[in-house]
Symmetry: C2
Subunit: 230 residues, 2 copies
């Protein structure tokens, strides 16, 4: 409570591409801190994060100057700065709808809890699943979604339902106050402008890999012929 309630407001317009990399830096910094390092150069951080050092410096420059010339960045200070920048210093409540395998994986994903996300509720429409305990949380019926969101002032919703349920879920979330949605269902959601949606499609990623595979090797992969190579 002694720290400034409204920090120096260091960054203004951080580019989207940079924002997308901040979590990666954050994770890399955590790993470096675990190794006992107290300082990193942009080069080291770049390697750990899988990007170029120029990118690291440019990205971090958007958050203000936090490095020391000739030395590098202070691991702990930089990590906490990025944490604040991402808003991860405040605890944020999340509701997950659709507790199939994916929903369970998300509910138990350490990356959520360790980054300030608190799971306020697990919701599923399937009667059979209701009441079941998943990672310390009871699965609750779909019609309680609104109550959960309102009660815990939830602003983040995760949709891990089948495609045909996703839009309904999104509508219900928005109605009760959710303003940021992470959508794993393979549909384009229709939401008001003030609501943020990010879509993650597991199949899409494999298809992109497939494209590059064709481009690179182009190898036909003889499933039918089944003849071993040479």
């Amino acid at each position: 409570m002694t720290s400034s309630p409204r920090p120096p407001r260091p960054a203004r317009g951080v580019p989207d591409a940079t924002v997308a990399r901040l979590p990666v830096y954050l994770r890399a910094l955590a790993a470096l801190a675990d190794e006992g390092l107290s300082t990193v150069s942009s080069d080291e951080l770049a390697t750990a994060a899988g990007v170029t050092s120029a990118k690291v410096r440019k990205d971090l420059s958007h958050l203000g100057s936090w490095g020391t010339r000739g030395v590098g960045y202070d691991v702990e200070a930089l990590a906490s700065h990025i944490t604040r920048e991402l808003g991860l210093d405040e605890r944020r409540s999340v509701v997950i709808v659709g507790i199939g395998n994916l929903g369970r994986a998300l509910a138990g994903y350490g990356g959520f809890a360790s980054r300030g996300f608190h799971i306020a509720g697990l919701v599923d429409a399937d009667q059979q699943r209701q009441g079941e305990m998943v990672h310390g949380q009871r699965i609750r019926p779909y019609d309680q979604l609104g109550d959960i969101v309102r009660e815990h002032a939830v602003r983040f919703g995760v949709i891990a339902t089948p495609a045909d349920a996703a839009q309904d879920v999104a509508d219900a979330m928005v109605d009760s106050g959710v303003t940021s949605i992470l959508n794993f269902a393979p549909v384009v959601l229709n939401v008001p402008d003030n609501v943020d949606v990010r879509r993650v499609d597991l199949a899409t990623e494999l298809q992109i890999l497939s494209f590059h595979h064709v481009r690179k090797g182009g190898e036909p992969v003889g499933v039918l012929t089944g003849v071993a190579t040479s």
Copy 2:
């Protein structure tokens, strides 16, 4: 076997940004076909895919001219063209390593099977899981990974293990012939240049949402104070 073994090779340098959208178009087209439409305008397809019509036209132009001026695109023809372009007309074998909740979700994900991906094997290092049936496949021990890859000429690997196992798994995959890896573990993998890696980090996505949340509402969400809003 009657179709040309080396198709017209229609597109040359398709931009990455376009490639990333092709699977989305493909899905949108499938949905439109289900509705019985035989033709779409770039505008309709754009709406269905959640992008702009200009993007659709530019993207599709990279694949060659497949639309009819004044009419639009033939749904079926375009879908099959994109399918071919992505290399999804050939069956591709995939191995999934790490059969926790995420691995199970992936194993059962319809988006894989319906897009030409055939799951050649599920692998887990946990003795307790081995032998268990998941979506019609038996979970096999980790030391059989190489055999599975070689036997089925697998070129696609999915890593759904904890972070500390991911690099070992990647090494084993690469050693036995995998050239495209989809990595869900929150680490940067070290692989040879000829191997393609795409990383999907579930926590990252929420953190990006969090950033935008701070920027937009900035609402503090009083978890500690716990006072209901006004």
